[in-house]
Symmetry: C2
Subunit: 317 residues, 2 copies
């Protein structure tokens, strides 16, 4: 009889699921809307229900489930299975592992969503052949995850990989975390739009951009040679390169994997990023290092959540 | 019959040895002068001889040796056992593992000396109870090592832990590595003495320091309240705190362990360091984090080299 693992990726808008065999074969994937009502108190119930329905559909008995991995957009304590805080869901000191384990009577493994996206790329995506990768995801903000020696780095309070909150510009822009100069305020959607408004204040040339332009417009304009857009993208690439170079000098990964919506910018981002990076990084740390765009897109999280459960259950041993 | 492991720590002046049982009990430690003549070409022979002599002294047959761990002040490729470069010894593309393995017919495991000092503190010193530590050693320069998930982070070119070469002051002081603004140029002996000369140029007050003061004099003067010395130490603490805070935000260790000769400065360094750190670090990353001085002093390297051999040989499984 086959055994199964479910990987869950909780997002602010939708919650995604993957059903895998314990050999790592993907059987199904689906999603539900994320119910954030009353601080997300109904969400675990919906997740439970959705998994049970899908098991019925595939004629899998509940005894076939061996474990669940689940990624959460927030800080989690992997050891206790408690979500310290997930602002976008409303969870605070929320015993996610216990609640799900009670419903299924199997081990439940939790982690941060960006960490699990890193694990997903390491397992099935861009970091597939590497024992160590630094994954950075550029969406609204900046997330990240680190794999070393083939395992995920989490840390006791689950902040590992949080390059978005490393201080890149001392006394710089005020960040939502309360500190100044975090990388996140200079790159990804949040940072680029802030830069756009800053630059427009003193800009007297002609540009296709205006203060409410979307991030994708900024990249499109940069690709077309719009001088204002080129300056903005180049500045973001500069700060991201600086932070990644310090990370790479210190962690020495084999690959830096760039994911998230902004990675659609492609070479418009990658070219200045790599050029700046090479000037900032310790030469020896760059010796075996390469850059690559993520490959799994929105599925990275369910792959990573499944990998986490499989790894903790010893499926890879 | 007992089995043994030897841990070796190659330094620019002396090479240290530790003889341990495979249960981790220390039987002996000793050192020899490091022979750097002709690009260190005689050193491996001296190391071999010294180990064989010590085995005779302890009436251990050569068959009792199960493995050797060895730390080198430079960049090493752990997988191939080749020292890429160790400037202070003169080794370049030097097949250290093969040379030693040929003499003893046992596996030889190599790594960077600061990485192994981190491993030593993790095994028997200040980081004993922690699965993840960030170790920084302040000597002439700044070295470092990272333990996560109970294992050493090395990286494909062995630069992991090299916080001394993260760029802390953009467009700052020229570093010996050819880049500008590396942390190392602002802290440890090298950085403090550079700061002293910089500060003295425009200093008009009275101070016990002069342009050739030793590092320990700077700390002693700071402890005694000498305004110039306090400024210099405070600046070093500020930059070290900044770099460590970004590292801690991203790696989320349980403990930061401060080692090296300068750690003798004690609270004169630790007080401003922790104060600045708390302002720079992501709050969540600081939740379970503590600072501690290293405990093993100059023996950290031989403990770490022994730990490396024991771990790779499966003695801890």
């Amino acid at each position: 009889m086959s055994k199964y693992v479910v990987g869950v990726d909780v997002g602010g808008t939708s919650t995604k699921f993957g059903l895998f065999t314990t050999e790592g074969e993907k059987m199904d994937k689906w999603k539900i809307a994320t119910d954030r009502k009353d601080n997300g108190m109904y969400l675990t119930g919906h997740i439970t229900e959705s998994i049970k329905e899908r098991f019925v559909k595939h004629s899998i008995s509940e005894g076939g489930l061996t474990g669940i991995g689940i990624g959460v957009p927030g800080f989690v304590d992997e050891a206790s299975g408690i979500v310290d805080i997930a602002v976008n869901i409303g969870w605070e000191n929320y015993p996610l592992s216990t609640n799900l384990a009670d419903a299924f009577h199997v081990p439940v493994f939790i982690n941060n969503d960006a960490n699990l996206a890193a694990a997903g790329e390491h397992w099935q995506g861009a970091g597939k052949k590497e024992a160590s990768i630094f994954f950075v995801t550029l969406g609204t903000g900046v997330g990240g995850g680190i794999i070393v020696n083939g395992d995920l780095v989490t840390g006791p309070s689950g902040t590992a990989g949080e390059i978005g909150h490393t201080i890149t510009v001392p006394h710089g822009r005020l960040c939502s975390c309360g500190r100044e100069g975090c990388l996140e305020e200079y790159v990804a959607a949040k940072g680029l739009q802030r830069s756009l408004r800053d630059y427009l204040r003193n800009f007297e040339g002609s540009s296709s951009l205006h203060k409410d332009s979307e991030v994708i417009d900024i990249y499109e304009a940069a690709k077309a040679g719009d001088a204002l857009a080129v300056d903005i993208v180049n500045e973001a690439a500069y700060y991201l390169a600086y932070a990644l170079a310090n990370a790479a000098t210190m962690i020495n990964p084999e690959k830096i994997v760039i994911g998230g919506g902004i990675s659609a910018a492609g070479e418009t981002l990658m070219r200045p990023l790599v050029a700046h990076f090479k000037r900032f990084v310790l030469k020896e740390a760059d010796k075996y290092l390469s850059f690559e765009f993520a490959q799994l897109g929105n599925d990275a999280g369910i792959y990573g959540a499944t990998w986490l459960a499989m790894r903790r259950l010893g499926c890879f041993d």
